[in-house]
Structures are given as C-alpha cells and as structure tokens.
C-alpha cells in the first residue's frame, strides 16, 4: 500500500517551522490525535464558537451533538480549515494535529486537507466524472501519475467504503448515476483515496434513508481501525450507536464531553441531560 503518498506526520512535522503543543509529550503518551485548545470562531461579528477545548484519541469515533445552530458544523469545518473559506469567517485559538498547530502561519491549509478528509451532509460527487474518476480525482489532481497505483488505490478505497461489489462492473458510469446512499459511500471512498489520518463527517446520513444510513454506520466501525473519525450528527441514537466519545454543544460552547456511555447514561450537566432526554432541541 502506498504509505508514502504524502509526507507522514513525522516528516511533515520536521518539514515545517511549527509550534509544538505544550502538552505534546503527555498527548503522545495518551494517543491523542487532535487537540483543540481555547478555540474561538466568528462570522463577521457574531461569535459561533466560544473557547472550545478538547482532545480526540487516535482510532476512535467522536460524535458532536447539539441543537441546530450550536456550532457543531462550524467546529468540524474548523478542524481541516474548511471554515475559513467561508467569507467573513475568522478564528482564534489552536488546533493541534499530532502536535502541530494547523493554524500556524507556516502550515499550508491545502496540505492539512490532504491529511484530514471530509464527507459532507449532502452527497456531492463530481457531476462530470465517472465513478472511477471521482475516487481518483484527489490523487490525479494532486499530481499522482502512476496509473497502476491509482487503480489500486481506487479499488481499495471502494472496498473500504463498502461500495466495490456494487460498482465494480460499472466504474465508467457517471458518479451521479448512483443512488443517494451509494453516492455518499462514493464520497467516503473519494476521501479515503487520499489516505487521510482523520476523517470528518458532517451529518453524513442526514440526506439518506435508514437502510443506506445503517450501511454507513456499519462502515464507520471498520474505518476506525485505520482512522480517527469525528462525526456531526443530529440523530442522538446514531451518536449512541456508533461513537466512542460524545461532545454536547450548545450556543457555541462545549457543554460536556466524555465517553458516549457516560454522556447518555449519566450526564454530569443538567443541560446535557435535558437535551438527551428530549426536553429541548
């Protein structure tokens, strides 16, 4: 497998003049992949995220839950610097990936997105490309020329997204000809082809029917063997089913963060309990 498609974390850390997290040693001992410290975000003058701090362990699934407008999507989009492409968005604070602050001036946001993949709320395959080209697009447009390597990775990624058996005989068909659930798995395969270390999923099943959703939920468990997954969801049952850790957000603040079991069965904050039990939101 092409481990060295892009720089590894260690090579990357060596290549940039970065500021290491002050807690790097402790974080590495505890297997922390992503560490958010005192992170704030604004759209214009409206503050969307207020002093968010939390750490995410390697090879776990973390869900972000909370009512609409609480900042879940803003937070997840901040973790790969996608948020700053929105006009008027600004941020303050640190997000460390393996100890490197991704918001440091020396870090190229494009490189960050290669290491932190993203799957969006609505399936968004490239409309003019075939199934094969959709998965290969990230590699080809980033300068990978080796055709054999590309088709290997495409096959592997489609296997990884549990889509291979359904599309192996029609790789030349347009990506948009697939069903909604298949399109979303195609988008997952497209993200996997970049061999990311972290996968961000912004309500990946909200546009899908229950059967397609459960396929994607099953998939998440396999994916976490190789990846760290952060998922935004509106569906609390989904969060309870798939995730190891859960963070509850409200009005731009992270109210409570902990093991999923604890959050759902024994929440420490009253607000969390009221939300979990359906009293608001």
């Amino acid at each position: 497998m092409a481990d060295a498609l892009w720089m590894t974390s260690e090579e990357y850390a060596d290549s940039v003049d970065y500021k290491l997290s002050s807690n790097l040693d402790a974080d590495q001992r505890n297997g922390i992949k992503v560490s958010v410290e005192n992170f704030n975000s604004w759209f214009g003058t409206k503050q969307a995220l207020k002093s968010i701090s939390f750490k995410i362990k390697k090879n776990t699934i973390t869900s972000l839950i909370g009512p609409s407008g609480c900042g879940k999507t803003t937070l997840i989009r901040s973790l790969n610097r996608m948020n700053e492409m929105t006009p008027g968005a600004s941020v303050k604070g640190k997000v460390y990936l393996d100890g490197v602050d991704i918001y440091d001036a020396s870090v190229d946001p494009v490189m960050i997105k290669r290491r932190i993949g993203m799957v969006f709320q609505k399936p968004n395959p490239f409309p003019t490309m075939s199934i094969f080209d959709n998965v290969a697009a990230g590699l080809k447009l980033n300068g990978v020329r080796d055709k054999k390597l590309i088709s290997e990775i495409v096959e592997e990624s489609l296997h990884g997204a549990a889509l291979w058996d359904e599309v192996k005989n029609e790789l030349g068909k347009p990506g948009s000809s697939l069903s909604g659930g298949q399109q979303q798995r195609l988008c997952i395969a497209r993200a996997l082809a970049m061999q990311p270390e972290v996968l961000l999923m912004d309500e990946p099943t909200s546009a899908l029917d229950p059967i397609a959703s459960s396929k994607i939920e099953d998939l998440l468990n396999d994916l976490k063997q190789d990846l760290t997954i952060i998922i935004v969801t509106h569906n609390m049952q989904q969060a309870a089913r798939v995730s190891d850790y859960t963070a509850f957000m409200y009005l731009g603040e992270m109210v409570e963060y902990g093991p999923t079991k604890q959050i759902f069965e024994n929440p420490q904050k009253e607000l969390t309990e009221r939300y979990i039990s359906g009293k608001f939101g």
Binding site: V110, R114, N124, M129, A191
Partner: protein, 280 residues
Amino acid sequence: MIPLGSILIEVVKNGYAAISYEFLTEPQGKMVPSRSDLRNCEELGIPPQSCEIGGVGPAIQGTLIVVGYASLIGVPVGILTGVYLSEYAGNNRFARAIRFFNNVMTGLPSIVVGIVGYVALVVTLGAFNVTAGAVALSIIMIPIIVGVTEETLKLVPSSIREAGHSLGIPKWKVTMLITLRSAKNGVLTGIVLGISRIAGETAPLIMTILGTSLFFGSFVGPIDALPLRIWRLASQPYDNAHSSGWGAALILIIMILSMSIILRALVLDRRGRITAGARI
C-alpha cells in the same frame, strides 16, 4: 420560429443556385448586368477567363482566419475573466468595475469597435490588416463570453467546490478542472454565441480588414470576409452579384450552424454517458 424559418427559406431559395465547387474556391470574377450578358461576354470582346463570375473563396478563407484569430484572443480572455469574477473577485470594487464595463461593452455599437481597431491597429501599422480585425471582433466577443461564463459558474453548487478543496486540491486546480468542467455546457454555449455573433459582424471589419477579392496574402494587408463580401455584392447593381451574395449568405449560415453543431457534439455530455472530454 417564424422569422428564423422565413429567413432560412428565403436564403436557401435564392442562394442554392449560386453554389458550386468553383463558387467555394475561386476568387470573384467579372460582374455583368445580367445572365444573358454573361453568356454573351465573349461576343462583347472580354477574354474568357474574365468572363467567369467566380466565387467567394477569399471571403470563406478570410472569415475562417479572422474569426479563428479573434477566438484565439477572445475565448481565453473571456473565460479567464468570467472565472476571475465568479471564483476570485467576490464583490470588490475592481470586480464591480469590470462587471459594469463588461455590461457597457455588450451594448457597444460595432462600428465604434471598428473605429477603435482602425485607430489602434490600422493607423499604427499603416495598412488594413487581419490583426486589427481579430482584435475588433474579440472586443465584441469577450463581453458575451465573460457574462455567460460568470453566470454559469455561479450556478455550480458550492458543495462541488468544497468537495474539491476537502481533497487538498489547490484552488486553481479546483477552479479550472472541477468547477469550470462542471459548467462546461454553459461556457460552451457562451463560446458558440460569441463566435456566431462575430462571424456575422460587418461594420468593424470595414474599418479593419477592408475586404478584397484576393486570397490571404500577408498579415499587413487587407483580407476578405463573408459578411463584407455579402455587403459588397448586394450593393452592386448586377444580377449575378446579387445571386452570388445570396449564395455567400447561405454559406455563412451553414458555417455558423455546423460550427455550433460540431462543437456541441464534441464536448457536450449526452445522458448516461461521459464523453472523452469529460475525463481527467
């Protein structure tokens, strides 16, 4: 439909008789008052080679050259400006100024564009020339392509751009290879519109390439074009000039129509199938 149909019928009815191999390839020959005069021209003492009414070969060649040359300038400039306005500029002052001037230029009288070409490139180079014509035509073409490109790109959902960015693809590649490709049907329509518009322009060509009955000779001398030839033939008082003019009009229409059909067939997606051009 009715005006278009009646124009087509009239042009075909009057023009088809003139068309022959010689008409497409030969330069214009002798113009005489009537067909019987033409038949009798030897008796009138005119040498036989001058008796042929000839054709519009130089005009066809000239139209291909000057329109092709103008497209080489106009298509890239138009598309890149449209891309800049839609993907990079946002709504800053500079972009608003470009949009404003672009709209004004869309309505610019073409004779004025011709005068600009004349002053800028004919006077300075000392001769009517194809570059002046191509520049004048591209000035007419660019605003059309800019407008259509910008509007079409704005219709591409931002989720497509985000998908590209999320794969760590640099912005210019996302723009040129994903967003623009998703909009290619619309952009192509803009190009076809622009080319069709300039292929029929006459006024700016009078001021820049002048027109001649000779084939293309040099980059610093007059060349011919179909609309110019039609205009000159129509303003002569001779029967055979008029029928040649109808024939030239028919050829111009066929050229524009087939260009549009061929371009579409080459690039447009058909349902359920991805064309070669759509692959990476």
